[in-house]
Symmetry: C2
Subunit: 158 residues, 2 copies
């Protein structure tokens, strides 16, 4: 439908173009952005099937706090690749569930410090093994060697 009135001459032209590598067709399903979006969707779906009561961004916030301890909301956002508006929503929801607590920075009054509660610490310790299973299932279509290659190249793109 993209070439409504294709004639024999057009087909000839197309062959010439193909030889030149100047392919005129555009296939959405071959574009890196589209496949990236689908791969991400698949991962989120696998995540949800293992960890139903937390989203990947919420898990990321907990895991990072567990890793580095108390930080400012803004700094946390940088570490887990969320802008200020997004991280605020994530922290608000974790706070409402008692998994994190916030406090004011004593010196710099602009900053909002965020930390795990003991409940949040228990939660992330319980969830990390599930997260490993999620990673494993996400990468299951690849062999061990392919996985290593894929992660290396993906990291270069991210």
């Amino acid at each position: 439908m993209g070439r409504p009135q294709m004639s024999g001459e057009d087909n000839l032209l197309r062959l010439v173009e193909a030889e030149d590598g100047d392919e005129n067709d555009y296939h959405l399903q071959d574009q890196v952005g589209f496949i990236l979006r689908k791969a991400h969707q698949r991962h989120v779906s696998i995540f949800a099937s293992h960890i139903g009561d937390l989203t990947p961004p919420q898990f990321a916030a907990l895991a990072k706090l567990y890793d580095i301890g108390e930080t400012s909301q803004n700094q946390l956002g940088t570490l887990i690749a969320m802008d200020a508006a997004t991280v605020k929503g994530v922290i608000d929801r974790l706070k409402a569930r008692g998994l994190v607590e916030v406090s004011k920075h004593e010196v710099d009054k602009r900053r909002l410090l965020v930390n795990l509660t003991s409940e949040g610490r228990e939660a992330i310790e319980r969830l990390i093994p599930l997260a490993r299973a999620i990673t494993e299932e996400t990468l299951a279509p690849l062999t061990a060697k392919e996985t290593a290659t894929f992660l290396r190249l993906l990291a270069k793109l991210a």
Copy 2:
């Protein structure tokens, strides 16, 4: 911070575990889901810098309609990997901008047919070269060989 009271004995245990491949640390930044999310974010950002007045999902809808012609909203959603609720919003916005038009299916009265307007056709023809540039810029950190490998493996995951 994840291991608050680590002792010398714990360090010994850790070495043993490392030899077993049973690594206890969990590094968010190495997890495929997290990197996938970041790579996707980067692509969306590159897309926006080239095509400011359309989102990747909106572009996908136009590109697929250009490729296959009129279809039902549901079928379009399947082809561009969007659930029914999401595709409805995307089509509503494209319709409001005059890029697509909808009509009722004559035989199956449940279906809503979607098609490009002439304005939508002009838009997608104008945008496809930009989309090629977006793909190119997204993949710029990789060599040609790496790109081929990456796309092959990514497709296996998606």
